[in-house]
């Protein structure tokens, strides 16, 4: 491939997975991510890897479970309603401690909703979605290049911790075209899968079982505590975020991820022209949530934080938790697929701090 290519977000996701050594892709058409499956259907057979359009999103996530449990890198992608269908499968994958990558190109909800971009699956991704005490590592890119980088990171993180990882974009990121580079990456140091993968005994004495059923409460408690230790490790090691314009004192700090974080950056430039100094915390991992980013600015921010989301307010709850009552937390959002302009966000900032000023 040439050094920099113009690629559509959804297709870049597919190509990034290929670069990461994704052996199997199982998908299903749903707007606005269908191009991921279409791209993989063209590319995977040409390089001797597996593409299958499953009969449903449920079947697709279970195919991922099978492939992942047999030791190969596997990925599926879908959009909100399809991700709802996958929740049982995701819980099983997490419970069996299998690595895999799930891409959610979020659209408006609830129900059939709309096909325009949204961020209303934040709760589903970070607080559960599926049943039981598990967590998904959730990565939120804000550009096609970042999507390429984070998809490749996702496979490494998944293998490192034996956990499913979600890359959460939105309809805009999936559909837009931006220049991307597939940079050389140092291969990650990852544990071997030989100790647990179930791909046939092949001379091994003990059979391997991929399973999440523990009928004895003592055993299930132990399994859960083991997983919680893993999540504590992930919280310590894998938090990612960007601080924008937070070096000096700020009047206000926006908190936003994905597409809308870019619009926030433009709003910040507009506000600077009016002498209002606003910073931005851009979470890149939504789980683990970057609480430490808030420590960097909690004393600096005069009027507190405003969570800006393409939803009715989901991440704002985590912003409140991170702020822990120390500074006020506001919210601005549009929903249903509506995307605010930089001016709208700037006006919302002024409204919120105007009263306090």
């Amino acid at each position: 491939m040439p050094d920099k290519v113009l690629m559509k977000g959804n297709e870049a996701i597919g190509e990034a997975a290929i670069h990461a050594g994704c052996q199997c892709f199982f998908g299903y058409p749903i707007t606005p991510q269908t191009e991921v499956a279409a791209y993989m259907s063209r590319r995977m057979p040409k390089i001797g890897r597996v593409f299958l359009q499953a009969e449903s999103e449920i079947a697709a996530i279970n195919m991922v479970y099978g492939a992942a449990g047999s030791g190969v890198r596997a990925m599926t992608s879908s959009s909100s309603p399809g991700i709802s269908l996958k929740q049982e499968g995701i819980s099983y994958i997490a419970g069996a401690e299998l690595p895999c990558v799930i891409v959610n190109i979020v659209r408006g909800g609830p129900g059939l909703g709309g096909i325009q971009p949204a961020q209303s699956d934040y709760f589903q991704a970070t607080k559960g979605g599926g049943h039981g005490d598990y967590r998904l590592v959730v990565l939120a890119p804000s550009s096609v290049q970042e999507m390429v980088d984070l998809v490749q990171d996702a496979f490494d993180i998944a293998d490192k911790y034996r956990n499913p990882v979600m890359v959460m974009g939105d309809g805009m990121l999936g559909q837009m075209m931006e220049p991307v580079e597939f940079k050389e990456r140092k291969p990650a140091q990852l544990p071997s899968k030989d100790e647990w993968k179930a791909d046939g005994l092949k001379g091994r004495k003990e059979h391997h079982v991929i399973n999440s059923l523990y009928l004895k409460p003592e055993e299930l408690e132990n399994q859960n505590l083991k997983m919680q230790k893993k999540y504590a490790k992930i919280k310590n090691n894998e938090v990612r975020y960007e601080m924008y314009n937070c070096e000096k004192d700020v009047d206000f700090v926006l908190v936003a991820y994905g597409t809308i974080s870019r619009i926030c950056k433009n709003a910040i430039k507009l506000l600077a022209e009016e002498g209002i100094n606003v910073g931005l915390i851009r979470p890149i991992t939504l789980w683990p949530f970057p609480e430490k980013a808030f420590e960097e600015v909690i004393d600096k921010t005069k009027y507190g934080f405003m969570s800006v989301e393409l939803s009715c307010g989901q991440m704002v709850e985590d912003v409140k938790l991170a702020s822990n009552g120390r500074k006020p937390v506001y919210f601005y959002g549009r929903t249903g697929g509506m995307v605010p302009s930089p001016n709208e966000i700037a006006d919302a900032v002024k409204r919120n701090i105007g009263g306090a000023k």
């Binding site: 009969e55 099978g66 449990g69 179930a198 046939g200 005994l201 079982v209 059923l213």
Partner: protein, 250 residues
Amino acid sequence: MEVIFQRTKGLLDVPTHYCPGCTHGIIHRLVGETLEELNVIDKTVGVAPVGCSVLAYNYFACDMFEAAHGRAPAVATGIKRSHPDSVVFTYQGDGDLAAIGTAEIVHAATRGENITTIFVNNCIYGMTGGQMAPTTLPGQVTETTPYGRDVKQAGYPIRVSEMLSTLSGAAYVERVSVDSVPNILKAKKAIKKAFELQLQGAGFTMIEVLSICPTNWGLSPLEALKWLRDNMIPYYPLGVKKDITAGEAK
């Protein structure tokens, strides 16, 4: 004297949790023997269902997966597509395969997925205490059809083997029974043929095995075998429903 019948290496030497007389034990043994005789234990991966045989992963000697309810054919697809040289089978009951898993089994069959499904049909949901299954017979009393299955309210049972035999991807579909020693021998032949066809890459193979559930039918194991013969075989006729090696275009 030489040993002419002993426990197969295809099964781990452990006691099972199945009820006395439960035919899961016979069927497990037939699959285990098949894997041993075909010398494929080492490269086989099996997928267990949700149901009484959820713990099948503790009984087979090969690598095993536990799957979500009904999803075993999709899990098997993921395994087989990433390891085409492996032998992959699913082992499913009537709720797993014919209720929640209807889409998965139909699509695995129509894709000609090169896996073997062992479908254990005992006309009832065993593990959860004896509720109606998609295969429960008209008039049959279960926990959720306490007055007998009324087809006007609860619909008709599904003949899965006949249904799947209409699909071009299905290479071999046969219904057998384990109610008698001669039928057990025929069942073993059918299961072995299904796995042999998988080894030849023929496509999707399924053996539906009529089985008993003495506990939830409220019968002794011996009475249950008779109930199977008298009631199930007439509704679910034994025999080959699809065989691409037979030369007919079906």
